[in-house]
Every structure is written in structure tokens, then in C-alpha cells.
């Protein structure tokens, strides 16, 4: 009852509002083309019929929600998962490079953070470059990575995953630097009184203290990885994947396809963030976290 009041009602209200606004704009944006069509066909439909037509164009400027829903449903549930029109197949292609890139990115981020926390020179020299790396637009970098790697014979999953890595190592590195530095002075003094070695302090104090920071930054990183994988599919001439679906939809003005690929991407992103969140909560519980 409580969660119904505090979560479901507000979320549903916003959803209904968004869908209503979407319908209004679908009518407004599709109307000029429909008016054009009607004029050429010498038809003068009534208001209701006209609105109905704007919401059922085959290649609308803005597809209506139900058109996207139908397309999404057909391409998700009614197609065999091996078909290259299946959204599940395309989502899997993108997901596999997302996960590989995310794993690389998390590992790289942690290694960089450990280096920065333990080596003063790296703290001064590496951090500005890490921040600078994220100011370069990924759309400019992605094709170069693909081309350079293809030149040395690396193609397929790895180049796409590396673009995900490029986007996802950053939040993990920044979050872990903060996490590894999060132990209180008193806890560090305590380890000092025990004459603990640097590696004992690292494993017994810094690492466990950084775990909450790791999961928070991994939530950001996994979403960034997905964006990286989709962007990575755009300049590669990829034949499958959510990015490839978006590009193909754009070439052939299949606006409904674009939108349903977009929905598929959001669903994957939501699932990924949720999985990381659940993993974080399980780890927190196992580490004696106070139930909220």
C-alpha cells in the first residue's frame, strides 16, 4: 500500500501526462503532411477522421505511442530471436559489446584509481588527462578507434567494446579515487598503531570502504557503456545492433523503427542499471549494511 502510494501513483501520473503530450504533438507534427496528402487527393475529412489519419501514417514525422508500441511488440515477441529484424537479437548484439566494454572500463577505472591513490606523481599527472579525455566528443573519437583498430586487424566486438570502455572507465576511476580515500583519519591512525603494511591497509580498510562508491559509479558507467556501444555501431557500418537499427531507420525514414529501437535501448539501459543496483544492495547486505 505504501509503495503503491509513494511510487506507483506518481510514476503512473507522469507516464499518462507524457503519453498525452506525445499524442498532442504527434497530431500537430504530422498534420502538415496529412493536409498536403488530403489536398492532392481532393479529400476534406472531418476533424476526428483527420486526427485518426495523422496517427496512422506509415512514415510519420513523430509516430504515435501506439504505433511504436505495436512495432516494439511485433519485433520483440513475434519474431524469431535469430532474425535480424528482432529487437531481442539486435539488443543482444549491443548488450554483448556493452558488457565487455563495461567490464574493461570498470577494471581500467579501478586500476587507475588505485594508481592515483597510491602514487603521488600519478595523482598530479594523470587526473587532468582523464578529465580531458571526457571533454572530447565520443562521436569524433569512435570512427578513429574503429579505423585504427581495423588497420591493425582488430574488428568485430573489441573495437565497439573499447568505445564503451572509453566512456565507462571515467565514472569508475573518479568514484573509486573518492572511495579509496574515504576512510576516516581515525581508521587510518588505527591501522598505523597496528603497524599495518600499506597492502594490509589497502585490503582491510580502503577496499571495503570504497565498495559503496564502486557500485554508485558502476551504475553511471553501465549506462555510459550502452551509449558507447550504440555510438560505436553508427560509424562501423554495423549490420546488427540497436545503433545499426537507428541508422537504418534514419536512412529509410522508418521513424517508427527508430522509435522502437530507442525504446529497446531504454529498456536495456534500465535493466542494466537495475541489475547493478540489485548487485550493490546484495553486496551491501552481505557487508553488514543497515537495512534502510
Amino acid at each position: 500500500m505504501d509503495s503503491f502510494r509513494s511510487k506507483i501513483i506518481p510514476v503512473t501520473t507522469i507516464l499518462v501526462g507524457v503519453v498525452a503530450i506525445w499524442y498532442v504533438f504527434a497530431v500537430i507534427l504530422n498534420a502538415p503532411f496529412q493536409r498536403d496528402l488530403d489536398q492532392r487527393a481532393n479529400e476534406t475529412p472531418g476533424a476526428v477522421e483527420f486526427i485518426g489519419k495523422t496517427l496512422s501514417q506509415p512514415k510519420p514525422t513523430l509516430p504515435a505511442p501506439h504505433q511504436v508500441a505495436v512495432n516494439f511488440f511485433q519485433n520483440t515477441f513475434l519474431r524469431s530471436v535469430t532474425s535480424n529484424r528482432s529487437l531481442i537479437y539486435n539488443a543482444w548484439v549491443t548488450l554483448s559489446s556493452t558488457l565487455l566494454g563495461f567490464a574493461f572500463g570498470t577494471a581500467l577505472g579501478i586500476v587507475i584509481a588505485v594508481g592515483i591513490v597510491h602514487v603521488a606523481t600519478l595523482d598530479c599527472s594523470l587526473m587532468p588527462w582523464i578529465i580531458a579525455s571526457q571533454t572530447i566528443p565520443i562521436l569524433a573519437v569512435a570512427p578513429m578507434i574503429i579505423v585504427v583498430l581495423a588497420a591493425i586487424g582488430i574488428t568485430g566486438l573489441i573495437p565497439k567494446a573499447l568505445i564503451s570502455t572509453y566512456l565507462s572507465f571515467f565514472p569508475v576511476a573518479v568514484g573509486m579515487v573518492k572511495g579509496l580515500r574515504s576512510p576516516e583519519l581515525m581508521h587510518l591512525d588505527l591501522m598505523h598503531t597496528y603497524n599495518a603494511s600499506a597492502s594490509q591497509t589497502f585490503w582491510k580498510l580502503r577496499v571495503p570502504a570504497s565498495v559503496p562508491f564502486l557500485f554508485t559509479s558502476m551504475k553511471v558507467a553501465v549506462a555510459a557503456s550502452l551509449v558507447g556501444a550504440i555510438v560505436g555501431e553508427l560509424p562501423t557500418g554495423a549490420v546488427a545492433g540497436i545503433g545499426a537499427k537507428l541508422l537504418a531507420g534514419a536512412y529509410y525514414s522508418q521513424s517508427i523503427d527508430i522509435w522502437s529501437a530507442l525504446v529497446a535501448g531504454s529498456v536495456v539501459a534500465a535493466l542494466l542499471v537495475m541489475v547493478v543496483g540489485i548487485a550493490g544492495r546484495l553486496v551491501d547486505r552481505a557487508m553488514g549494511g543497515r537495512p534502510a
Partner: protein, 263 residues
């Protein structure tokens, strides 16, 4: 009383000056002090008198800038490296991701004791601080007093002869504090450890100590050292006896002489 026993801590002309952005701050100046084995020495004074700093110098958490200090006949650094003392902080400083018994085990893991030896020491120290039955609890499941008792157990498990305690009961209410004071005394009596205890409570200092070191601020220095005439066995109601009140009055006089009550 303390003269015959070998010195556990010995300081002469000890001084410590912190360099801050507002210029040098003299935290300790000209401290001469000898602490014998088995003594219970309290350091009392207003905040800023350097009592915590002195304890941190003994523990090698701060380096003195003048004078000399030895712990068990070694430099504080050597003493720390040979794990000569257990330190209890103002807060319990337990690791929230470890159960109480794993917290007590932390120093034992660091020294590299066997699992069996660890279990043995955990059991013994948990009994000493009356926490048996709470081994599997996480710190947040315990009251403040119990958490501080767990942190004392952790310091005891280290099994050093010297126990350094920095206002360990400062954040606790008076009832819990009385209780823990009583327990600490009986623990000291049973284990025969040397204890250095920082406090800003006069009754606490008089009740616990065999010697009371009165300190004053600006610069932090020792103004008086008072030998207690109370016997080792001290029930709580000893605090109403004339003997107790006389010592408390001397401590208060010492603080006043050091201008501790002035602004």
C-alpha cells in the same frame, strides 16, 4: 610508588610545535614525565592543553619537535613497530562492514596469528569487556557504550602491556560512563597493564588513576602531577569519601594554577 618499577614511558623536555598557516602553534612544551609499569595515569586539562597530542606522541602518531621520549626503552616508532601498545580512540572506530568479533580480530589478522589463536583471544577479550554473545552483531546493532567496549576489547586483544586511551568515554552518558569506569578498573586490576588515560572529567580522573597529570593550554604543558592515595580496590561510592574529594580539590587547584579556568 612509581619510582622502583621500570619506566614504560619516559619523556624529558618534550616539545611539539605545529606549523600552521597562522604561524607556529606550540602544542607541547617542556614536558617531563615518567610512567612506571602497572600505573594508571590520567591526563587532565581543558581542550587545547595538549593531552591528546601527548598521547599521540607516545603512540608515534605525532613526532615531537624538541626533547626526548622513550617507550619501553625504545623510540616511539620502534615501540609501535614492535606493537608495544593498544590505542583506544575517542570514538569506537569500528569497521562497519565487520562483525564485532571480526573487528576484534582485525589487529590479530595484521600480526598474522593463526585462526585458533585468534578465536582464543577473541573469546577471552570479549569476556573481559562483558560482550560475550554479541560476537556476530554488526556495530550499528550495538549501543554506543557497547561499541566502545568492543573497541577496548580490540585494543586488549592486541595484548600489549601499555594501553593508551584518548577520552574513550567522552561521548557516553554519565550512567554508562560510571559503569565502564568500574569495568575498566577491574580490568586493569586483573591484567596489570599500564594505562594512559586522557579525560576532561575530574571525578573520572580521580576515580581511575594512581597518578593524575594536570595540564594547561597555551602552550600545552604539565602544571602538576598528583599521586593518588586511594587504594587499588575502588567501589563507585568511594567518590563521596573526604579522601577522594581532597584529591579532586587538588586537581581543581592545579587546573586553576595553570589558568585553565580563564578565557
Amino acid at each position: 610508588m612509581s619510582g622502583q618499577s621500570p619506566a614504560v614511558v619516559s619523556a624529558s623536555k618534550l616539545g611539539l610545535t605545529f606549523q600552521t598557516n597562522d604561524g607556529p602553534v606550540q602544542a607541547l612544551s617542556n614536558v617531563d614525565l615518567t610512567i612506571g609499569k602497572g600505573e594508571f595515569v590520567s591526563f587532565i586539562g581543558p581542550s587545547g592543553c595538549g593531552k591528546t597530542t601527548l598521547l599521540r606522541v607516545i603512540a608515534d602518531l605525532e613526532k615531537p619537535t624538541a626533547g626526548a621520549i622513550s617507550v619501553n626503552g625504545m623510540t616511539p616508532e620502534q615501540a609501535r613497530e614492535s606493537r608495544a601498545y593498544g590505542y583506544v580512540f575517542q570514538a569506537a572506530a569500528l569497521f562497519p562492514w565487520r562483525t564485532i568479533e571480526r573487528n576484534v580480530a582485525l589487529p590479530l589478522e595484521i600480526i598474522g596469528l593463526s585462526k585458533a589463536e585468534q578465536a582464543d583471544r577473541i573469546k577471552r577479550t570479549m569476556e573481559l569487556v562483558n560482550l560475550s554473545g554479541f560476537e556476530k552483531k554488526y556495530p550499528w546493532q550495538l549501543s554506543g557504550g557497547m561499541q566502545q567496549r568492543a573497541s577496548i576489547a580490540r585494543a586488549l586483544a592486541f595484548d600489549a602491556d601499555l594501553l593508551l586511551m584518548d577520552e574513550p568515554f567522552g561521548a557516553l552518558d554519565e550512567i554508562v560512563r560510571d559503569h565502564l569506569n568500574e569495568q575498566l578498573l577491574s580490568l586493569w586490576d586483573r591484567t596489570n597493564k599500564t594505562i594512559c588515560f586522557v579525560t576532561h572529567s575530574i571525578p573520572e580522573a580521580v576515580y581511575l588513576s594512581t597518578r593524575i597529570v594536570v595540564m594547561s593550554p597555551r602552550p600545552g604543558r604539565v602544571t602538576d602531577i598528583i599521586e593518588s592515595t586511594l587504594s587499588r580496590k575502588r567501589p563507585l561510592d568511594i567518590r563521596e569519601t573526604p579522601e577522594f574529594l581532597a584529591i579532586a580539590a587538588r586537581v581543581r587547584d592545579g587546573l586553576r594554577a595553570g589558568h585553565s579556568y580563564e578565557d
